[in-house]
Amino acid sequence: MTFEERLARLEQIAAELEGDVELARALALFEEGIENLRAAAAELGNADTRVQQLIERADGTFEVETRE
């Protein structure tokens, strides 16, 4: 799941928890939420900016080459 998707899922979970929800369902949602929070926080701590360069081949197709 991408960070963006996790954030969207967390929004859904919070909204559902704030509504009228069965206890068992609430617990399941809550656990899923905690898991997503952990994963999202971990991803934030893991900076990775890759720099590449776009190269067009003679036949008009493309290649992305990692720099340095």
Partner: protein, 430 residues
């Protein structure tokens, strides 16, 4: 004309003059080709051409020779004066006079040389024109062939900007409705700029600091110089055909007005407008506004600012996560409390309900409460803080939320204390 032996002419001069001089191609193409031809022996004329009425030269010889002399005597140079009688001819060339109070010179800008000049000058403009002096044989006039021009007060560039802007506006390319929102989490950012420039370095540094997991794909192009407009257009076209980016940054770091000029080019602006995904323009420093800036979905004052606009900051995302965490735990606690209360009521009301059943559910609730305890707001309570809650369950988080006499619940580590406000709450200056 000045020597007695004019026949031997320098290489590269027009054949026509040779033909005219000697009345019929004595120096033929064949004679010039390799291997070296045997020297042609010219008849030695009596005196020099034009010395007598009998040896009179043709008018074209006169003008041609004048042209050779003048072109040989002047190196290209800047000349200043006022523009008058400007005409853009059907054939694409520009004609005008450059004059001061006592003199004038006919000028031409050949169509192919016009790309070095931002816009056609207007009559009355004070300009400096760079070119070379020649002779226009057909009229027997001196003519100044101009290749570069600058107007006082940067008038030509201002005029060029106005014209370009008006044309883009007429095509609706400056309309605010065209501006697309930037994606909040771009995964692949194409950066159209010089691969060795400061702009790329700044963008990568900012992205690295701000956000995780973004790919920067450099699409290299010249950002200044004569080839820059075309190269930028080609790079943008490449980004479209590649279709692998979800956001584009086009730009360069600061420089002189001339260095930044490519980004005022109409074709570049149109290429920016034709970009398939949202595009940020970042040209120069804060004060430099280019035509590209007007057309792009977002104008960033610098390349660094473009990187900031392109991505959310880590701090912002941490804040988002924290808010979601609080919402979730608050809601989950509310749910547990509601079920606990309901259970209590049931226990009180229904004597048929077995103690065992109640005990099982109670245990389950305690398990859940134990999990929730791991969350910071509950942990906070166990450290001795309390939470004030209004009758409707809302958290009372500031002095302004209380009124004199208002009842509320104080949630402490091991229970709830009914309470009431006594006196007027005082806010602390923050």
């Amino acid at each position: 004309m000045t020597t007695r032996r004019t026949p031997r002419r320098a290489e590269g001069q027009s054949e026509r003059s040779d033909l005219d001089l000697f009345g019929g191609g004595l120096v033929s193409d064949v004679a010039r080709s390799e291997p070296p031809p045997p020297p042609i022996e010219y008849a030695e004329p009596d005196g020099y051409p034009g010395e007598t009425a009998q040896s009179a030269v043709a008018v074209s010889i006169l003008t041609q020779t004048a042209r050779d002399v003048i072109e040989g005597a002047f190196i290209p140079l800047w000349v200043r004066g006022e523009i008058s009688d400007f005409k853009s001819h059907r054939n694409g060339h520009w004609y005008f006079c450059l004059r001061d109070s006592t003199a004038q010179i006919r000028c031409v800008v050949w169509k192919r040389d016009q790309r070095g000049i931002p816009a056609a000058p207007d009559d009355g403009m004070q300009v400096a024109a760079f070119g070379r002096l020649t002779v226009y044989a057909a009229r027997g006039e001196m003519q100044y062939a101009v290749t570069k021009m600058e107007a006082e007060g940067d008038g030509l560039r201002r005029k060029a900007l106005e014209i370009t802007r008006a044309r883009l506006e007429a095509d609706g390319l400056l309309a605010l409705e065209r501006k697309r929102p930037l994606p909040r989490f771009p995964r692949v950012i194409a950066v159209v700029t010089s691969p060795d420039g400061a702009a790329l370095h700044d963008i990568v540094a900012v992205l690295h600091r701000r956000v995780a997991n973004v790919r920067v794909v450099v699409v290299p192009c010249a950002v200044q110089g004569e080839s820059a407009p075309e190269e930028i257009c080609r790079a943008l076209d490449r980004v479209n055909r590649w279709a692998g980016a979800d956001l584009v940054i086009v730009g360069r770091g600061g420089g002189s007005r001339e260095d930044l000029w490519a980004f005022n080019h109409e074709q570049v602006a149109r290429a920016v407008a034709a970009c398939h995904v949202p595009i940020i323009s970042a040209v120069g420093h804060e004060v430099d506004i280019s035509i590209c800036d007007l057309v792009a979905d977002y104008r960033a004052p610098t390349p660094s600012a473009a990187a900031e606009a392109a991505t959310p900051s880590r701090t912002e995302l941490v804040g988002d996560l924290r808010k979601l965490s609080l919402r979730m735990s608050g809601a989950a606690r509310g749910t547990v409390r509601w079920h606990t209360d309901r259970l209590r009521h049931l226990a009180r009301d229904l004597s048929s309900c077995s103690a065992e059943q109640i005990s099982t559910r109670q245990t389950k609730l305690e398990t859940i409460a134990g999990r929730l305890h791991a969350l910071s707001p509950l942990a906070t309570l166990s450290r001795g803080y309390s939470v004030a809650r209004a009758a409707d369950g809302a958290t009372l988080g500031s002095a302004a939320a209380f009124q004199d006499g208002m009842p509320f619940d104080l949630i402490v580590r091991d229970g709830t204390v009914p309470a009431q406000v006594r006196g007027t709450p005082r806010e602390q200056a923050s």
